[in-house]
Symmetry: D2
Subunit: 336 residues, 4 copies
């Protein structure tokens, strides 16, 4: 951490700041120049509150030079984390996975037919929304617990692990047979939920918030890992920008950045990231080329009559086509 | 709602779409031009899923022309909502209120001394954080239930109503004696929490999410009102932009926009909105001039040693000075 | 400047970097910790290219701790700059000015009637667009040189100084009798134009670019001042964000931030900043309360038939009303 | 275009609006519902000023349903435009090109050695900056005319066509032997420059502005095409968002969106788009996978000592490696 002092700082105040910093077991280095004095701090500054220091009269600015996350940091854990989802189904460390299925679970027949089709096309994990976060209280909110039961039945029948979104801690017991628990973009900073998931040993799919920085995503993963659960899959799903031609701006560069900063696997959601079925395929291909460890894609047997987000769902045929193309690119992807 | 068709649409598909729309009890008007066909829909389109229509082969785009919110809409409720907080303390409809206090509750003596000072300076409501949403799992997370008890004790002793943030449904029983329950920016789209608060009859302070549009804020308020609770105070607290000189960009224009679209009272948080104590006063003055119904401001007896967000907390003296200036502007504020 | 080195840096490379830095006449301080080494540089680092240093193998990051602007920096010029526009008409250092007039100059009668009305309401400077930057090549592009002549005639007849936008260096000779030359948001980083205006001694109204940071605005002002012209008025006019309820998000906090960082006067354009006539008055009031040195406002005698930007123009009556309200707030504004 | 009227509009005002619209040769369709009246307009609305209509008392909102661009619109020109750069070197319509070279031209030896290396690696077009737009007036501004001469000499010696940026109309004569004239992000809405380039018949490389929407980029291309020049290459180079881990957010989805909306070729600049050499390769691969028609990449023989933007320049070796990987992906790219 570096503290930049204002011009002509009071020496007593400097002394008081320095002794306060030394109490925190930090190495304190004062650099005095003709115009400017800066204080360099070496040691574990993760518990120092930058904001408090900023309020001091003699302080102009404070800059952190170390990342504020530890457990998820590749520096301290150079090897890729591999998340074990089910026997033979792993993600990260060279293992690539596609999760596919309907935005919302609408019924058993629907889920089974989509599951069989996506499995045939090469997806190994079934996604489906039972609890749906919807902007409007008047929109379909998902089948809830019944939806989860339908998914679990499909899992038993077809043998595909399942991923579904949790929206509230109180529903956690319902997710016992769910293989991957998804934390949605709107809950990325629901810290109480993150702490609770940190106490489980379940694989967690953590989606980046709509306006969250890469560092904040990693801090949210840190909440889970701080609880002892390192089975975390990060997911880029589009950020909010001024552009209106796409629902969000899918930040593909987050893939190589996250993989450099952290050891956790990173997947991409081109369905929510674009909000437009016609853009799902090219953006899935871009994600794979840039080195993503997987994809999560909305597929529907009848997008026109889907109860939610039909606009971004692929038909079964289009999904098969996407998988074929993705498999051609995969061997030549970045760092493969 | 207006549906714009692609060039040369298939007549059978048009017929099928039109009959589907008529089943929904909508007036359907087809306008055919040389180059383009559009379909105008009149009636209650709030339950029509735009996204599903967009996926149809013959459809190029769908545009909503009515607001998707009803209960919070000023069109259907022209008079200002007045929220009753405590005997003689109301907000909205010409009633202006200032909420002030520490970012975090740190102890009883701290809270009492700040409460007395802000009351003396003219604030009628005491704010204080017991449950704190912090980006880092290693940062101080608030005193929790104990913090709430300290606030309630201060309320009894000094006679000020209190406002504090809830982070999870399970903690709701602890908020029984809290006068205003705050939903923080990160929970603005925690829809399960909103639904639960809609079942209470408590005043709710709903903060705008960091990257939420004004319409999304109103939709979240609609969740609460749809449950039967209309005691809602909206709060602008800064949005995320590319600018880095301030922590967020305080969107003062949200005040007149929200007051035009909705009947709910609107307050502004210049402390979180700027992240910088030196900017709190000018931005508080701007908010008041633009017609805000109130302010919520962080004040600390010792900002340098505050356990969180010290950088943006005012000293007691600076807060007194702010109140004096705000009171001079208030009589000349917009629409007063 | 602070250079953060990667873990276990090569000592030879450190030596080579240090000797290169010393050649630049910088005080070099190496701080070695158990985990991390940082290099603190004291002296004039404005000519050091941070980007080049960042490419070095041993370097993890570089952070600048001094502002990159000098002439416009309040640190080196603590007193407010006062811009002299015409005899008795000054802006900055406590002098407040309102510039008002039509978006586009449409004809002599229009300009004269608006000019007389805004002057009567209290505006001392006449604005009017002759060269109009329009997104579409098919939109009205302004009357050009003829428009400037109409403005100049109004100036002579009514005795109001005028402000108008320049779009290309080649038109500079036409602006000789224009009192303030406006650089529009789209040209804020037209560096060739800025250099040329730095060679004049004319007052320049420099608008912030739609996605420009406050620091970039100051760097563009620095271009003009580096040429010897310090007669610069900064103008906040809204930035681009994800919000769609307003055309732009007017960043009122830019006013106190700019006035702290720089000695130049700062005005606000609530017309372009909101794109909506109904929001001009509350946002003008907010800007004044926050300490702006002036306003620039679009006024039209017939907004419905205005050839451009009618949506944000005030009627003459609404402008009179705005001026009355602004004058009530002005004495109580921030730092007045 | 659809005009949405306020509740209970005055019939006389409706009549007056309708007759005004009919004068513009538009088909006017009035749709009256119980709660709402809307007016549908069919015909060429590109010259109707939406903003003027919005100011009318009876009007609540106006929505455009047709794109405001014509010449660049794929609807009216379904076939891909192919830009002819030099004999045998074309871009678009299946022709893929890589432009590579130094950020700034620094000297003849530098340019020749880089040119030879990038040609050997497979780039067919040489890029190099002679006029450099720099945020700071104190930064190196490029060699100017001398830099262009060095590029032209390299073109003659090595036989590679060249691309370089123009910053001001007055320099146009110097670009006669430059094969592609680049309009930089900061000049994307320098409309005077665009008009002038529309009068030439030179290939133009038009970069997207930092905060420009895809529609605005197309409108700027429309300015050039309206002048008769259809030799335009569009370039995505990153947009400004809240994310700070990358200099800009490279909007890869702009590639498929632009190619759907327009017939013009689209290339991507991963060097400026990320600002970080380590991200250039994965993002180049992503761009190619998503269907880009080409890449423009900064390469330097000695990035550490480059006079500008060294941080994002690849070494010659890294560029060779990138080309090898890109060529593996190219045959499997989207729509290839």
């Amino acid at each position: 951490m570096v503290i930049i002092l204002r011009d002509n700082p009071d020496q007593k105040q400097i002394d008081s700041l320095v002794s306060w910093l030394k109490e925190k077991n930090l190495d304190v280095h004062i650099i005095k120049g003709a115009d400017q004095t800066i204080i360099g701090l070496i040691g574990d500054t993760s518990k120092i509150d930058m904001d408090s220091i900023k309020t001091m009269e003699i302080v102009e600015d404070v800059k952190r030079i170390q990342e504020p996350y530890k457990n998820v940091n590749r520096k301290f854990h150079p090897d890729d984390t591999i998340v074990d989802i089910a026997p033979g189904i792993r993600i990260g460390g060279g293992n690539f996975q596609v999760m596919a299925g309907p935005c919302s679970v609408e019924g058993s027949a629907q889920v089974l037919s989509i599951a069989r089709a996506v499995k045939k096309a090469g997806a190994d994990i079934l996604r489906g929304g039972a609890f749906k976060p919807r902007t409007s209280p008047y929109a379909f909110q998902g089948l809830g617990a019944e939806g989860l039961e339908i998914l679990k039945a499909a899992k038993r029948e077809i043998g595909m692990p399942i991923v579904s979104e949790i929206m509230d801690i109180s529903k956690l017991p319902l997710f016992e047979d769910v293989d991957i628990i998804q934390v949605g973009a709107r809950n990325m900073q629901n810290f109480e939920l993150l702490k609770e998931l940190g106490r489980t040993r379940k694989p967690i799919l953590l989606k980046r918030g709509l306006s969250s920085t890469i560092q904040e995503l990693l801090m949210s993963a840190e909440y889970i890992m701080a609880g002892g659960n390192s089975q975390i899959i990060l997911c880029e799903r589009g950020i909010r920008t001024f552009e209106t031609a796409t629902r969000n701006t899918l930040d593909i560069s987050a893939v190589p950045v996250l993989k450099e900063l952290s050891h956790l696997p990173v997947i991409v959601d081109p369905s929510h990231g674009t909000g437009n079925a016609r853009l799902v395929k090219p953006m899935a291909m871009a994600a794979v080329a840039a080195g993503a460890d997987g994809l999560i894609i909305e597929v529907h047997n009848d997008p026109v009559h889907a109860l939610c987000d039909g606009a971004q769902s692929l038909t079964l045929e289009a999904f098969g086509d996407l998988m074929a193309q993705v498999n051609k690119i995969l061997p030549f992807a970045y760092k493969r």
